[in-house]
Structures are given as C-alpha cells and as structure tokens.
Amino acid sequence: MTSDNLKNMIEISNGNFGYDNKIIVESVNINVLEKEITAIVGPSGCGKTTILKSISGNLPLMGGMIRLDGKKQNQAWISENIAQTLQNFPLFHWLTVKENLMLACKIQNIPTTNISNVLEELSALHLIDKFPKTLSGGERCRASLAQAVITKPKILLLDEPFTGLDLHIKEDIARYLFSFTDIHNTSIIFVTHDLYDACRYATRVIVLGSTTPSEIKAIVNTKKKNSRQLIRNYMLNTNQEIL
C-alpha cells in the first residue's frame, strides 16, 4: 500500500511546544500517516518528550495546531484513541501486572477479557501475577506496552521504549509493534536517543536541534541510502537541509 492510500493520523502545523510559558520546541510541522512508525531524536532537553506530551493532551499546545485523524485535537478523542508509555515504563507498584492492566481497562471502560491475550502476544503471560518491583527492564517494557496496546489505540506514543534493553528484547518488541501497526492501522511515534534504534525501527526520523528553543533540523526517510549517516550529521550540526 502506498502512502497515498493512507490517511494522516497526526498533523502538526506550526506547533510550538513547551511548559510554564517557556517554548521548548517551535515551528514544528509534522504529518504522520496511519501505520507509520516515526522516531524523534535529538539531544537531551530538546523537547522530544514535550512533543509527545502535547500530542497526548498532557501539555497544552503553545501555538499552532494539532489535528488527529483529521479532527482538531480534543480530549475525548485522545482518551479513546491515543495510548502512551512513559520513560522507565512506570507501573503502579501496589498492583500486579494483571491488576495494572485491569485498572487501565476499568478507567478506560474497556473489557478486561483481552488481558491474557495481549500479554501472550507480548510473550509476557508469565508476568501476569508479578509485582512491578520484581520485573526486569525488558519485562517492565512488555507490561507497560501491554497496558498501552490493550485499548487498540490509533496512535501509540512511546517515550524511550528501547532504552536499557538488550538487542534481543528490542527486536522482539519491535517485531510486535510492526505487526500491531499492520493489524490495527496504528501510527507510532517513539522518542529515542539511539540513532541505531531510530533508523532500524522507524520509517521516518525527525531530528531536533540543540538550540533553545529547538526546531526540526531534518526529517529523514530511513529507506534512503546512508540515512543513518545523514541523521548523524544533522545531530552533529553539519547540515540544515530538510530532506
């Protein structure tokens, strides 16, 4: 299927992102298609997470506009269609993995019957009765991801999903995410520091600069030859062109 057949799930026009009246990232123009996996890379503090928080409605936009699935961003649509995992995959420490998922379902008014299936798809069924403090980084990632995908969101926002995981687990999780986007037409934006992860798991990579406020320095298609080298150059401040 070509990109012409796919609709825009996220359209950001002249978006300014920040908090406490301080703009962190400005003049952002991004379109993310359905089924597309997009990575945002850039130096620490450049506003990668801030963009995710604004898309999910947790931070108000400081300028510009966000359209989601063709409609102006609104909380009701966000609650139903966007899911997010946060850095370090926080889970409520007093609940088991199953109870964490049940709570997510209960609050979002979705049936709890799917919990075992989702965990099984993520090879995490054996974690069902475990408490978060007993989980390894990879296990936490799977549990946290299960909590996010159980709603079958149209947009999945992942903050540093691969940080601290070994290659084997990363590949396993990425494989799951690829099939998930295919089955559910989900668009994914993930934030990472790792150039390798961005190029390997995303179809496009958005490179943010290190200025304050920062701007998009480039949007690189990872299918392009030498894309990793290109992104590396942008991150090291050697080119300004948007590809």
Partner: protein
C-alpha cells in the same frame, strides 16, 4: 525477626533497670522519690484491679481521641488535597495549630467539657488530628508524577485519580503517620487526665505523686509505655505485613 526484637528490647529494659537500681543503691534514694524497680512491679500486681480500671479509662480516652482525630485528620487531609479552594481556606489553620502549643488549650477544654471522658477524648483527638491531616495532605500531594501522568493519559477524572492512584500510593505513608499521631493521642489523653477527673493513668500519676506514692506513679508510666509500644508494634505490623505491597519501590 520478632525474636531479635524481643532480645533487643529486653537488653534495653534490663540496662535501664540496672542503672535505676544502681542510682538508688549509690545515692540511697528514698522510695518516695525513686522507688526500686521491684517495688514498682510489686505494686503493679498487688493493686492490679486499680491499674486495670485506670488503664481501661486511658485506653478509652486515647482510643476514642485517636479514632476521632485520625479519621477527621485523614478526611480533612484528603479534602484539602483534592480541593484547591479548601486547601486555600484550611491550610493556614493547620499550619498555625500545628505550631501552636495545643496543650495550653487543656484548661479551657476542661471548662467547656467538664471532668468526664469528653475533655480527655477531645484533647487526644485534637493532638492527633493536625499531624494526621498534614501527613495525609502531603503524602497525597507527593504522588510520583509519572503515576499521575499514566492515569491522566487514561482519561481518569479527578476523583478516580485520587482513589485509584494518589490514595493507594499514599496509604503506606499515611499509616506510617500513625507512628507520630498515636503517641500524640496518648499524650493528649494523659494530659487531659492530669487536669481533672478521677479516672485514667494520668490521674493516678498526679494523685500518687501528691501522696508520695511514687511506686504507683512509676507503675502507671510502665503501663503507658506498654500501651505506646503495643500501639506502635500494631502500626508496624500493619505497614510491614498488611500494607507491604503499598511500600514505595
């Protein structure tokens, strides 16, 4: 673990008793000033009915006061954590009363409520209420930001955010706050008993001191220590066993 604690506490008590006996022996302190530990233990057994009655009264004063103080403290803490308007209105009172010597209110409370159980319970309640409200407020406000973020991503309304996220996250600390509020409640009850009436271990301490029956006064102190120790052990059990899973990672 429990045996280790028993041994630890036994050694501490034995040390104090040893020093106590040593002081009496060296300075030949008369028993109307400082009775021997054996005298205190003897009076505890020979006058056990008297001590049982007064202990019951103190437990009623303390239990009633703590029950009211803690319940109202938790409810108030929850309400002001939840509502900014209530926080704006009530927090100054909490801060003022927390730093105010509330014991100074006891004579006034006695005038208002008389010499029965009521002033002691009220006094115990007022001493335990303020710290409980502040502990509840602070522990609800101190919820980990990523927890709040998760539950907000799910679209939870504020009430659900409090019941499913903030309260379970805070419960271990709130219960831990009982380690502060229960001793304060006990102090409140005993101070109330000092001021008037003829019931409770506080009354025994005051009346025995006036009659140079220091053995009774010290026996009352031993019982008060035991009440405090048992209460704190129950709180610790509640935290470490019943609420273990709520302990922060």
């Amino acid at each position: 673990m429990i045996w280790k604690n028993i041994i630890r506490y036994s050694i501490s008590i034995a040390t104090i008793v040893g020093i106590w006996k040593f002081i009496i022996f060296i300075f030949t302190v008369p028993d109307f000033i400082l009775p021997a530990p054996s005298q205190v233990m003897t009076v505890l057994f020979t006058e056990k009915n008297l001590f049982l009655d007064h202990t019951k009264a103190t437990i009623i004063h303390m239990g009633g006061g703590i029950g009211i103080g803690i319940t109202l403290g938790i409810l108030t803490g929850f309400a002001i954590a939840y509502s900014r308007t209530l926080l704006w209105l009530i927090e100054p009172y909490l801060i003022i009363f927390q730093s105010f010597p509330r014991e100074a209110l006891i004579p006034i409370i006695v005038v208002w409520l008389g010499f029965g159980h009521a002033p002691k319970i009220f006094n115990s309640a007022i001493l335990s209420f303020f710290p409980m409200a502040l502990i509840t407020l602070n522990s609800l406000k101190d919820t980990r930001s990523e927890y709040i973020e998760i539950i907000k991503i799910w679209g939870a309304p504020k009430l659900k955010e409090y019941f499913y996220c903030r309260l379970p996250n805070a419960i271990y600390t709130i219960v831990g706050g009982l380690k502060i509020t229960i001793p304060l409640g006990l102090i409140g009850a005993v101070l109330g008993e000092f001021m008037g009436g003829n019931e409770g271990l506080g009354h025994v301490i005051i009346s025995s001191g006036a009659n140079y029956r220091m053995d009774r006064s010290f026996a009352s102190l031993v019982i008060l220590s035991l009440i405090g120790l048992i209460s704190l052990s129950l709180v610790r059990y509640l935290q470490d066993v019943v609420l273990k899973k709520y302990k922060q990672e």
